[in-house]
Symmetry: C2
Subunit: 795 residues, 2 copies
């Protein structure tokens, strides 16, 4: 879908007229509003899709009764039959206009009205809120990207209280703001009275209107029609004379004005009240803060500070290029997830989990154990985010090691084995699992407890996939290699037998023996982020190094300690050597295109941590999965030997149910082949022997190839939804404190303002690395626009 | 409200018939289903509230057309007028039956049917899903506690697609399960075709039925009525002959059966797949796991394992006596919170927060800064739970102290000053802020970093409020005191000038001087949970001790370090001595009856942490509020000096918006005087000089008084929503590992099974302490039932 800005202008106040049902009087209400608005300046009435006979078309009705020099009317698609647009379209049109075309047409129309001095506009829907549009999608969904404020015409008939409230709820859960409610008075049913007090509690004004005269049904004689015309005219005149339409309009005007004033004040207020994560506030100005008005699909709607003209759009679509800090999977404003969250909230709220069980938590646990393809894992522990999930993993692993090896706490401290540049979260316990770095060196209580291997990395340079070995290790590991494809790099069976593979293993074993035997280090866990070390700087680890490290640890059980309970090599699910913890918080659940990132290594962890994409990108939740062997380390007759961890909202029902649906939906997408177009592009280029298992990305192989030749580019890679480019740093300094990527980031922030569909890109940098991340629902045509911007900037 | 069990029986399958709108044919569908069900055994048709003329009453219609020995019909409330029940009731009845009466009547009727061998029952609603019941509440809300599975009759008319989907969404967000959809075929509008494919995606079967013959309107002649009767009979016979009603019923039967089978399997499956928080799994059996089917208000609906008879209710209302681990505030299944969550999900999903701002996060920050009554606080930092919120607080405080006092990291480690028995979360960093205890002593990486004062505690013993001083401190602090009321204990101005107050201050100052001057300890923060130390064992601290400690720290700025930037005593918002951190995660936001627990002490913290009740009890979210002075400690030209902390879902829009609405609603409740009944009961007893500021509880003063005399009781207290009773431990051992409270807990779990409205109580114990916690919406009559159980058990 071409990016579409939410419809908001300073000079033009546009509203969308939704009906609680069909035949509730939307057009009569629109006509009344048009007449009243015309007294305040030029007004536009837009009917995107109209059904019903031409004579009765809603724009014609408005034209007839609200006619005047100040009133413009327009209909985009007209169907004669009084049926749902999806049926009308089906029978009348060879090519049904795509929803994106309808949206662009509306935006274009309103935009031109804004430019031409129109002050107010009404966009009238057809039927009820969920009546299908021409492509059979609910109108409430179809028009959502515009997020026009809503004038809801409620139903004054018997049953209308119910349908009006339900319609309101359907709009609300799609992120609409309802600015006012109108309906006809009915002295018998008195819906207006009930609804008035109902909407007053929501601070939404409701205006009850006199009932219009009955309209003749079917074909009528000319004189009857004339009488009807006269009666309607009288009706409109008498209602228009009423004062309260004026105050309703005043209120709507104020809301529109306040909405923009709010947006314009937000950055300054945020600058004053918010302490931002990972942000140096010194020198930060309000203008540095992006104001996000709303979001839909892959785009934020952000306040456009560059255009101050009254007639220009206030909002601009901004591609969410960090997938909102790596969380986004199923798109912003996803109505299915909103409904799922609401259902769990309505069925449970949050319920106690210690000593209890509810369906969402149980179903999620079982789904993950069944689907992640790791036979070792049999238990699920819930926490709230990746950092707490990793704290639990560390507690689990250290206990398991200490119990097996008979270590007492009074003995010297147990340490972590890991990789340099790893990052496992912001709480102090898991900070200690990473080597000293910019992220932690100034945290007063930090002290790294472990040994971290430096390792070779993967990237494309000048059109070739390369493995680069850090200079200090070139003697032990060799000088790096070139490969014809990513698939070859991931052919670990073959590579492990190569000379490089043997060098890796020998180096790892020698180092460990030195640490354990000579320096007396006690290790309690091997912790790794498979394939990609995210926060450490998007480091694409040579998978062979991770593979070798895990295998050396497992095949040398006596290296780390000795115990009568050390399992024999036959054991398939018991841990050996050290408990292996995979931190898949960032890399798991399709972030790299596969269900798990462990599958790239072919290694089953003993403990595996997942978060971020777990809820499709909606709310925090984390799981720490463990083997029975690890679990059993905590079994004892003492309560105090248990894993004494558990946040209050542990396994909250809303998060678990959203996660069940999200994980299931991503698995369905995989099964349905939703990503086949991406896969094909990569497997064609890399000529993979095994296209099903080929390594692929949502970012095009061509982009990676082309950018790798760019002068300012050090190297590039892409896997799954992640793209990353490392820029040459003039100062020769890489790492988190480098500013080399800032220029590219600014270029993306500038975007394509002169494009017919202008948009820009939000991105994050880690020192001299700029990365972009798609969601699982991103479409190739969307991503190629972003790729175009990258090419413009770098080539 | 008397506790009502969700309506579920093994022998009786009951469904609720909801209509997408009025006049969609609910009664025709019910009649068809009754006729078909009657062939499978006895069937009951229940119309709780009927409107429309007596002749046309829905139960009469069913009686007439589905008559037979197997069909029972019943109407609870009959109104003649074809208007909404709330209007009919208003005009017809002197006393409108309370919603709880209606619910009990339905439950009683279904229960008796179940006992009498009825196999199926339909409970038909009036009008649409949100049509108001007799008390003007939406029926979807009114009937929610029964949570009957729904048969939705969709609307086959023009506009019916929209109203059917909206009705479905309104039911879903209230936690209903929709088991099937029926509607009439309309060849012109073809709603059934669209809805069939719509509901198929939700795995909900839809059955399209032939249209019934048109029914005569108004008064008709006898012969016309006879013809109509004949036509309807024919219609029912012809439709009943169709096979697909059978398979629809089979499907519904299967769903009902599966629902119970699922409930019965859950404990075993959970026992296998779940690693529970704070739980020693050894010896734990599936039967120890409470199966929570759903929850509403103050009650879980739990699987009743004690009654295995087919005719007995499967579910039992269980009072959520731990407020679901201290989180619950606005009731389970709160539709307002569900709708709020859905709106934010639909408007944003989760959006990036670093460098950006959105309305919910900004509004929540401003609301808290404005409302918490602490002028020092000016910045809000977001995290996901209390533990991470406290990790941030520790990072903030330590940095501020180190910067001001010029301490380098290479110097000896900076420590925390706190109270014994404090608890700040489960992540390792904040575990280190507590003294060694059961909770942390076996965590391999734990090492307490601080000094923790023992302190006097408050409780009622034998009818008197007492302050008890630990034996070891009786020489320094005196031997404890008795008070006439809680208010006197909280009269800190007076008490600080007393001999006890002076003893407290002298002791604290002497101890600190010893620690700092003699032992060279460097302190970086004072951290306290004001008034009540929750996880440490519900320790009610003498507020005077906390008050004195804070004041000594602040009034002795040179005790902890020296710096040219030490503020003069005039400064009102700068910290002095040490940054004071209040951990209000448990105690804040009305848990103790007041907006903040700091207000009991009259001390403004420099850093304040809130979570749990922040979202009203729905989803995880935490805030760490800080002063500008603390904030400024991180300002530098170096990015790496910033507070490098931030979880991916930081300031997630759903949580922030739910929090805005929850905090606002709790403030509204306070303002409206919703808790005045509780307050009055306490201030009458304690004869407070200042009833507005009086200390009160939702638990009755009488209960506390009476239980304090019980033989098995050591002491009792209550404040705000928290009640706690400390039991005498025969072994003389208190603390977390004691089992003295287990017996009382089991008694509460047993509940009152012979009560006409049977219920039981879920509670948590901390060693020999059993506590109960209400939500902010708990009603006095509810709590008095629970109090009755406590009295039965202990008196």
């Amino acid at each position: 879908m071409a990016p579409i800005g939410a419809a908001l202008w300073r000079s033009l106040r546009a509203h969308q007229v939704y009906g609680a049902n069909t035949n509730v009087g939307k057009t009569v209400v629109s006509t009344l509003l048009c007449k009243a608005l015309a007294e305040r300046g030029s007004v536009g009435f837009l009917k995107p899709v109209s059904t019903g006979s031409l004579e009765e078309a809603d724009d014609r009705h408005v034209e007839r009764f609200a006619a005047g020099p100040n009133v413009l009317t327009k209909c985009l698609y007209q169907f004669d039959e009084p049926v749902s647009p999806h049926i009308a379209a089906r029978s009348k049109l060879k090519t049904i206009p795509a929803d994106t075309h309808i949206l662009s047409s509306i935006h274009r129309t309103l935009s031109s009205w804004s430019t031409n001095g129109v002050k107010n506009a009404l966009v009238e829907t057809a039927g009820g809120v969920h009546s299908p549009g021409p492509n059979a999608n609910s109108q409430a969904d179809l028009y959502r990207p515009l997020r026009l404020p809503v004038v809801l015409v409620a139903d004054s008939r018997l049953g209308g209280i119910s349908s009006s409230i339900s319609a309101y709820e359907s709009l609300l859960m799609r992120g609409y703001d309802i600015h006012s409610v109108l309906l006809f008075e009915d002295e018998y049913y008195q819906n207006h009275e009930y609804l008035q007090s109902y909407f007053a509690k929501k601070a939404i004004p409701l205006l009850a209107l006199p009932k219009p005269p009955p309209r003749p049904e079917g074909k009528v004689a000319a004189d009857a029609e004339a009488r009807d015309l006269e009666a309607m005219k009288k009706y409109y005149d008498s209602v228009a004379a009423q004062a309260d339409i004026g105050s309703l309009l005043d209120g709507m005007e104020k809301k529109s004005h306040d909405r923009i004033a709010e947006l314009e004040s937000m950055a300054t207020r945020a600058h004053s009240a918010i302490w931002y994560p990972f942000t140096q506030h010194q020198g930060m100005k309000p203008e540095d803060i992006t104001v996000i008005e709303s979001a839909y699909g892959d785009y934020f709607q952000t306040l456009d500070r560059d255009t101050k003209q009254d007639a220009a759009p206030v909002l601009k679509p901004t591609f969410d290029g960090s997938a909102s800090w790596w969380t986004q999977g199923l798109g912003h404003g996803n109505p299915e997830l909103a409904l799922t969250a609401a259902h769990a909230a309505g069925k449970y709220g949050h319920v106690m989990f210690a000593g209890a069980v509810h369906e969402p938590a149980l179903n999620l646990a079982e789904l993950l154990l069944k689907s992640l393809g790791n036979e070792r894992l049999s238990k699920v522990f819930y926490t709230d985010n990746g950092s707490t999930g990793m704290e639990v993993a560390v507690k689990m692993a250290l206990r398991a090691a200490c119990v097996r090896y008979g270590w007492q706490l009074s003995q010297s401290e147990v340490k972590i084995l890991g990789l340099k540049g790893s990052y496992h979260g912001d709480t102090i316990g898991v900070m200690d699992c990473s080597e000293p770095s910019t992220f932690n060196q100034k945290v007063e209580w930090y002290r790294g407890r472990g040994h971290w291997f430096d390792f070779p990395t993967v990237g494309m340079k000048n059109g070739s996939w390369r493995i680069d070995v850090p200079d200090e290790l070139s003697q032990e590991l060799g000088g790096g290699e070139e490969f014809g494809s990513l698939d070859e790099i991931f052919d670990l069976e073959k590579r492990s037998k190569s000379a490089a593979g043997q060098r890796y293993s020998a180096y790892i074993k020698d180092t460990l023996e030195e640490l354990v035997y000579k320096k007396g280090v006690k290790f309690g866990a091997l912790i790794m982020e498979p394939v990609l070390l995210g926060a450490g700087g998007m480091l694409f680890a040579d998978p062979l190094f991770q593979f070798s490290l895990a295998n050396i640890v497992r095949s040398n059980p006596n290296l780390f300690g000795s115990s009568p309970s050390t399992p024999t090599s036959e054991s398939k699910t018991n841990w050996s050597g050290l408990p292996i913890v995979f931190d898949e918080v960032f890399t798991g659940l399709y972030r790299l295109g596969r269900r798990t990132s462990a599958s790239f290594l072919g290694i089953d962890a003993d403990i595996s941590v997942h978060a971020k994409l777990l809820t499709g990108g909606l709310i925090p939740l984390a799981v720490t999965l463990a083997s029975t062997d690890i679990f059993d380390s905590f079994a004892s007759s003492e309560k105090s030997d248990a894993l004494l961890h558990g946040h209050s909202y542990t396994a909250h029902a809303v998060g678990c149910q959203v996660a069940v649906n999200s994980v299931q939906e991503m698995m369905n997408m995989e099964q349905r082949g939703d990503w086949d177009a991406f896969k094909t592009s990569w497997s064609e280029r890399v000529l993979s022997a095994n296209p099903h298992g080929a390594v692929w990305s949502q970012w095009s192989a061509g982009l990676v190839q082309d950018l790798s030749h760019a002068e300012s580019v050090e190297r590039v890679f892409a896997v799954g939804s992640v793209f990353s480019v490392t820029l040459r740093d003039q100062a020769g300094q890489g790492g988190y404190t480098s500013t080399a990527a800032k220029g590219l980031q600014q270029r993306l922030t500038l975007g394509e303002p002169t494009d017919p569909a202008p948009f820009n890109v939000h991105s994050r940098v880690l020192g001299n690395v700029l990365y972009l991340m798609a969601s699982m629902t991103s479409k190739p045509e969307e991503l190629s626009r972003v790729e175009g911007l990258l090419r413009d900037a770098l080539l």
